[in-house]
Assembly symmetry: C2
Homo-oligomer: 153 residues x 2
Amino acid sequence: MKKKAIQDYYEDSLSHCYGCGTNNPHGHQIKSYLEGDETIARYKPDEKYSAGTPDHVYGGMVASLLDCHGTASAAAFACQAENTSMEESQKPVRFVTASLKVDFKNPTPMGVELEMKGQLRSISGRKVWVDMSLTANGVVCATAEILAIRLKE
Amino acid sequence: MKKKAIQDYYEDSLSHCYGCGTNNPHGHQIKSYLEGDETIARYKPDEKYSAGTPDHVYGGMVASLLDCHGTASAAAFACQAENTSMEESQKPVRFVTASLKVDFKNPTPMGVELEMKGQLRSISGRKVWVDMSLTANGVVCATAEILAIRLKE
């Protein structure tokens, strides 16, 4: 059976995001997974999402991928900190972005599967801070940090 | 005659950005203008760019709009600091993003024209820092700061 992604556990009513919503047929529907103590997502953008030059991915896409991967990571890490999981949690777990900072280190190449990774920095109540990277062919194109806030039920 | 936007002065070879490229028919083609000492852009996202809920705009779009408006603002402010303009500059002026930080203050409503504004914080050589806001119906949905770097010729 195919492993379910973090986003697959979001409530239906909160799954319309263009970046990662399973209920948005037009969007990227990126899928993030918890693997040990880090999160990972892979995505190859369509060519239309080009930067100033056609051979690179535009910054907005890079930010979008890291934003959606960041909130998913926060959800998974919050569950992990409570010794549960997205699957086993008795309550819906959904985070939104309070702050996102992206540092663009190298141009992001087009036509390549991008890899986003996340690591937990800290948790305080409903706030979760996650550090991330986006790499292409093993080269770090961007790093990012997100402060995500858990939605109240 | 219709006023030309900052992006209309980008070189053709650097105008493929999904966010603001005049040569990208699939993208947003946002248009930024210098008005006095600030920059302004207005854009109404298509409904497909929804957040977790359909009545809000997803964070990636907010970041994208601020990213493209930020690099455009940097270009206009750099010209202004040299007592020239995008139109009159003897050299092509194009900035790329080194760092973008977005603080999400309120959910961004769908179906509303969003207004992005930029103000120059400082200039040092090829580096320009710009402070921005994104408002909807007069409510600040996000603030942002960008460090943009001028491309060498």
